[in-house]
Subunit: 231 residues, 2 copies
DNA sequence: TAAAACATCAACTTATTTATTGAAATAAAT
DNA sequence: ATTTATTTCAATAAATAAGTTGATGTTTTA
């Protein structure tokens, strides 16, 4: 009956993310007071595009995907959210509404911090704020990458990008492809499912990748990168 | 690219729920300013047990289920949320954290109102507040029913209760059983899936109910009510 | 402690989703 | 106008999830 885990004061210090290490006791206390910890199950949504954003989420462990929803049934996947990352930063600071959805690819232990507390701590602790902003900028630049890919490339480039992006996560999360459906991959590439399937089969024929059940192994990264560039 | 539907001032007045009819123009404006409308898809979660509650949801159309999560994989279904109902009232007024989860059984058009606005309007408009409270009490009494069922009855009574509860919705939503899995029914009864299957087969043998694919037809309501009472 | 009330496990069946492929329809680019 | 790029539709296969049943364990209660 307990998805809300009681956590003691030490717990927040225990988190691996460097950004929490630099907080003073007072600041930790401030965060601790206005946080709650939740176990999200695989498939649960962390944020819903269009809903109010009153808190940010910090992912303690697990993987999730962040995407934008379209009016019909096609989504565009923006990124994989990894452990130690924040979700909802921008929404909290600016428009008060999540402009993307995100759902768990695995069970995700997360803690939620109310925006007032985060704002307060950032105001107090410049270094903390700096790190938060840095992270946010990194995420944002990825987003711009995604956008330019979508805008200026075509199918082959898209799927190459998607595969290269996901493959980068494979070092840390070797089973990442197991967690993704063809629709997920297609949504990363911004193309139709059938298109994604076809192109990947094509890449397999040219020995650039190997499709092994759900897993995808990149045999010739150089060639894939060339395809990515040539679009 | 638009799940957030822009809605004009008239829209909120247009909602069938009686409780919105009694608002003044100013109050409507207040709500309108701090609301956003979202299309939740079948399977999307409306609230997550343990997460912060900064807004209430008003369901414009669609069906959802409200349940409490347990540490393992067993949930207890509290109720079906219907169109015209609120989700998250208590959480907003009291503890600031949702003490239950809820997910959509069908696509749900909902609008979200930030708690500050709801609180403000309730303070201004007694009749509105009264209605909100009335609704909340109704929900709560159902909850107590559920609890006492769980506590004081056993399997036969539980499944009878669950079936009777769901059957009541059948007038308005004739396909309600199509939307529910055996796990859902078991979770309403608070028993194991296998237990639910077995008992329902038993009830079918005694001609009390008919299982027709996913649909369940109650043939002998009186007998089922007797089972419910006798526990 | 024995019976009753359930839950859990394992095996199996059935239904639903996901993946794949060819063909046809649009749309964009040359 | 005619390739070229891409989506959509339809049919099928493969994989996964849901439903069902019997047998076995575990509590609870009398």
């Amino acid at each position: 009956m307990k998805t809300i885990l009681e956590t003691d004061k030490d717990f927040i210090c225990d988190i691996k993310a460097p950004c929490f290490k630099m907080l003073s006791n007072d600041e930790i206390e401030l965060i601790r007071k206005s946080k709650t910890q939740v176990l999200f199950r695989k498939g649960d949504s962390l944020t819903k595009q269009g809903a109010f954003a009153s808190y940010i989420l910090f992912i303690i462990n697990g993987l999730a995907k962040q995407y934008i929803e379209s009016n019909n049934n096609r989504n565009f996947n923006l990124r994989i959210i990894k452990q130690g990352e924040f979700v909802g930063l921008a929404s909290v600071f600016t428009n008060n509404i999540y402009n993307y959805s995100s759902i768990c690819l695995t069970d995700c232990q997360a803690f939620l911090v109310e925006k007032e507390a985060i704002v307060e701590v950032i105001k107090q602790n410049g270094l903390f704020g700096f790190n938060i902003i840095k992270r946010y900028c990194e995420q944002n630049s990825n987003l711009y990458n995604s956008l330019s890919n979508v805008l200026f490339k075509q199918m082959n480039g898209h799927i190459a990008d998607a595969l290269l992006y996901i493959d980068e996560l494979k070092m840390e999360y070797s089973d990442i492809f197991q967690l993704l459906s063809r629709k997920d991959i297609a949504d990363f590439a911004g193309i139709s499912i059938e298109g994604a399937v076809r192109l990947m089969k094509g890449l397999e024929k040219e020995n650039i990748i190997t499709l092994k059940d759900k897993d995808i192994i990149i045999n010739d990264k150089t060639k894939l990168e060339k395809i990515s560039k040539s679009g």
